[in-house]
Each structure stands twice: as C-alpha cells, then as structure tokens.
Assembly symmetry: C2
Homo-oligomer: 348 residues x 2
Amino acid sequence: MTLKASELAMVPFVSVDNMMRLVHHIGLEQFMADLADAIEADFARWPAFDKTPRIGSHSDVGVIELMPTSDGALYGFKYVNGHPKNMKEGLQTVTAFGVLSEVSTGYPILLSEMTMLTALRTAAMSAVATKHLANTDAKTMAMIGNGAQSEFQCIAQKAVNGIDTIRLYDIDPAATDKCMGNLAAAGLTLIPCQSPEDAIEGAGIITTATADKNMQTILTDNMVGNGVHINAIGGDCPGKTELHRDIVTRSSVFVEYPPQTRIEGEIQQMPPDHPVIELWQVITGQATGRQSASEITLFDGVGFAIEDFSALRYVHGRIKDTPFYVDLDMIADPSDPRDLFGMLKRAG
Amino acid sequence: MTLKASELAMVPFVSVDNMMRLVHHIGLEQFMADLADAIEADFARWPAFDKTPRIGSHSDVGVIELMPTSDGALYGFKYVNGHPKNMKEGLQTVTAFGVLSEVSTGYPILLSEMTMLTALRTAAMSAVATKHLANTDAKTMAMIGNGAQSEFQCIAQKAVNGIDTIRLYDIDPAATDKCMGNLAAAGLTLIPCQSPEDAIEGAGIITTATADKNMQTILTDNMVGNGVHINAIGGDCPGKTELHRDIVTRSSVFVEYPPQTRIEGEIQQMPPDHPVIELWQVITGQATGRQSASEITLFDGVGFAIEDFSALRYVHGRIKDTPFYVDLDMIADPSDPRDLFGMLKRAG
C-alpha cells in the first residue's frame, strides 16, 4: 500500500520536447490517425461524459480558460490561453497544458504540455468530422489560412481521409510559403492560390483556419458550390467568425457541444434556435450526417473538452515503458497520511 | 524578444520536496507569518479579484475541484481533490497543485505542489481570522481534531497571534499523541484532554478541524462560553459540519465568500439569509469584527481561491535566485510563433 501511494505520488510529465519525440517515435500520420480514433471512440460514448462549457477569465488582451470533463473513471482538464496580440510580441497566441486524473482517488496520473497536443487534436477532430460528413470521393482540400494550425489540418486529412491535394490560400503569401515548405515532403500535391475563390475551385473539402478576432467573411455565399464539406476552425470565440451567414444558412450545421458552439462558433451569427446536429449522434448513427451529394455540410468546430480528454488519454496510454516522460514529485506522500506535518518536520 | 519567449516557455516548478526545503529555509513560523501577511494583503483588496465558486466534478467517492481567481495582473488556480476514503487506502484525502499565470500573456509563471502549501495557507488563514476577531488576551487555544491539519493550525497561531498554550482533543488518542510529538519542540505548552469539554476549558480560541463527512456536532451549545473565538475549519463541503446550529445561532458569523460558504460551511445548517459578515470587510474596516469581550465570534472557514492565489504569489516571490525550483519545458516556443509545425518537424 505504501508502495502504491509512493507510485501515485509521482506524476508523469510530458514536456514539449518529449511530446515531439513521442510524435516522431509513433510517426506523425499514425499519431494523427490514433488521435482521430481516440476522439471518435469518446464521441461514441458522449452521454458518459460530464459536460460543461469552458470556464474563462477574460481581460482586455485575452482569456485564460479551464476546460474540465470526466467519464466517471478518468477526469481531465486543459489550461489554455488565447491572446491574439501575443504573436506580435513573439509569443504563442495559444499555449496549453493538461492533466489527467483517476476519479477513484483524485490523484493526477499525467501532466502534459498541450500547445503541441492541442494543435494535433484540433486537426484530428476536423478529420473525424470530415470522415463522417464529406462526400467520399473528395480528395482535394482547400486550406484557407496557412498559419500555425494549417499543416496539422493537412496531415490529419491525409492520414484519416486519404486527401491527396491541398489548394492553399492566405492573405499573407509568406504564410503560404511557410506551409508549403513544411509540407514539401508530406506526399501531398500542393497548389498555392491567389484568392479564396481560386483555392476552393474543385475542392470537395474546405477548411478555414484564420485567426483575426473580428467578424470576418473569408468565404461569401456565391463562392461555395454544392456538395462541399466545410470545416470552419478559426471562429472559436465570441466575435470571431469566418463565414458569411448566408453560407451557414445554406448548410447543414454539425457541432461538438451546442451550448458552447452557439457562443463561440460560426452560429453565433444565427438565431439561438438555429438548427444544429450534434456530431456524436452522427458517429453513433442516432442522427443522419450528409443526406445527399449536393448538400453543403458545415462542421462548426470550436474545440471541446472531450477532445482534450481523448488526447490526454491517448498520450497516457502510449508513454508507458518509453523514455518520453519524467516523474514529477507533485503530490505529498507522508508514510502516515494523517501526518503531513511529520513529513515536513522530518525534511528539516 | 526571442529570449523573452524562451524564458517564458520555461515554467518554474516547485516540487513537494522543494516546498519543504523552502519552508525550512525561510523558517516555518516566518513562512506562516509571511503567508498570513500575503493573505491579509489580498483580502484588503478583495474587490480587485474575479470571484467564482469552485468548479467541482463529483463522484460517489469524492470530488475533484478547480479553484480559479485573478486580480487582473495575475491569474491563479488550484486543482484539489477530496476523497475521505483515501485515508484507509494509505493515500491523502486531499492532494493539490496550483498554477500562477500572467494575465497579460496567458503564460504560466509557476507550477507548484499545493498539498503542503494548502495545509500551510489554511492555517495562516485561521490565524488571520483569529487576529481580527479573538479577544486580544486569548493566548490558549483548544485544538479539536488532531489530524493532518492540526499542527499547522497551532504553529500559525503561535507565529501570528502569540498563542502559547494548546489544549488538544481527538476522538482517537493516537492522533493527539502524534500531534503532541510533532509539536514537542515548538515552544508551546501542550495539554492533552480527554473530552471536548475538557479541551475548551479556559481556552479563548477554539479551533475545530475534524474530518468525518456527515453532520457532526463536535461542539454543542452548552459547552461554549461567552467571549470565545471559534475557527470551524473541518466543515468544508456539503453534508460536513462540526458545530451544533445553536452555537452558530449564538455567534457572529464571519466568512470568506458567502456564496461558497452557504453551500460548504457551518452555515449550510442555517436559512439562506442567515446574517454573515465578510472577513475582508473587517480587515479593511468597512465592517466591525468583535463588538464586545463577551461576544462569540465564529470564523466559518471553507478555503477560498484567493487564499491559494496569495500562497502561490508568495512562493513565486520567494523562489527567485534559490535552488528550490526546476524549470519545466511546458510551453511550446517556436522561433516563429506561426510555425508550430516547423518546430515539430525540426525535432524529427
């Protein structure tokens, strides 16, 4: 029992460096496919989870959020900030870390960086939505917004859905150059485009991942043809959208967790009763996804706590017997649990 | 700018071992006095803080909670569990860790163990309440419940309020023996007692820190004499109280944050409009504390996020230029913040 307590008192920690090593050890595409499987498996048991909108602390320049959830056996939460002005200061707009714990004891069993892991799971989530909603013959994706999330989206779509061609557009050509450079050896056909209209030409999938925090209309209605699937990833907080509302009106809208998406997603532009379909119900077969080849499907992704839970659960399962973590002395472990003071005294 | 990002990408981590070394480096009584000062200073600027009740995830066997707060410049949160059945399994009932971040960037600046630190700040909080509410000639304290929190309470009262005599009682005599052994060299007169009635004889201060999770009446009304100050520390969740409601009725009740205390504290036994006085208003002079030498004052302490914030802020200020922390690679720091993928790719 003392041994068990001592073991539990040490919390495995996956640093940024070790996360990157773990990804390369497993292989980036395999990691993405595994993450997509983990997310899909957890979405398939959606009712088992405690769900609550994220808990935010807002300031003039950004937000710090805690995103907890639990499936009754494991509890996870993510700390994540969002500071658009950070970029200009050479800092990340979004940084994150997360913790996974045992519900039965309350003891943490994993502390992990999640800046990298969030980028990975966000892309895996889009791939899962695309798998269930896009026309199956769609092998070309338009990638609108070629910033920090773009390469992850492209790799995930290749790994999960066999996408072979990417048409890239960014308002800043340097971002497109960066994205193409990073994906040069990825086995994808890359086509740089001069406008959003050009990028979506012939694409069965459109993914938007732009970052500006004000009501944008990256895509307007007359641009979007029948039958496409859209992943709108960049609109993920109040005041931040990417699509003209006429596109939303023409589309069947699929969401993660409606109470959160109605505040943060593209549908914040719509009336509060705008019809949405919960993606987990499509995955379990309780709701229909795409109804015809000509329908426009829209995944209004904002990122939900269960996706982080899935990612932490996956990482926790993969680090055993690897060198990709270190044990942290985070939890006090007195030999007699009633004698915390004695432990302190003996350390003196 | 790159240098700054790199520095921010590393998060100082204070382990349990280093926390104990820091306490001994500063000196336990000095640490307690400093913590009390930090808490008092933050209570004095109470309106500056974002306040929200803790966010709990409940199961049959316990709870896992997140307790966030912010003063606009710094943001802090604590992860804490409460699993009463853990003790029987050789585990801690309560374990905790916390994070302090910069509001301006969202970047964490401290990760710290908080099992030990919570025990310390809980005691410092009682000492602050006692300082503002007890009769000034009270130098004897009854310590009812001699478990994991008891020694901390005694040391804090000595350090902050000059308490010189402790009358100890626990339903389990072994707990009293343990407490007396731990405090043998603390410079306190220790008097073991056979009953709660015996323990409170002549004590100007009564501190209850018992742990059982059901409506207890450790103290009944006819036991408590006029003029005492009571710190009721053990009643800190729904269904867990220590005092008979007649004592509460006879007392002036002082609380941390009313919305939380009405759910978790002794006053959960009382009507929802039972009058309470917020301790921060006593500290700032906006409310009166003790009104007469014969009044019974009751600090119905449940533990609030601002106390954890104060403790994290204090530790953060004290670890600079010490060996009592290590830097953790928790935050991804790509040289170009838009190029997270390039950072991952280069690590391969």
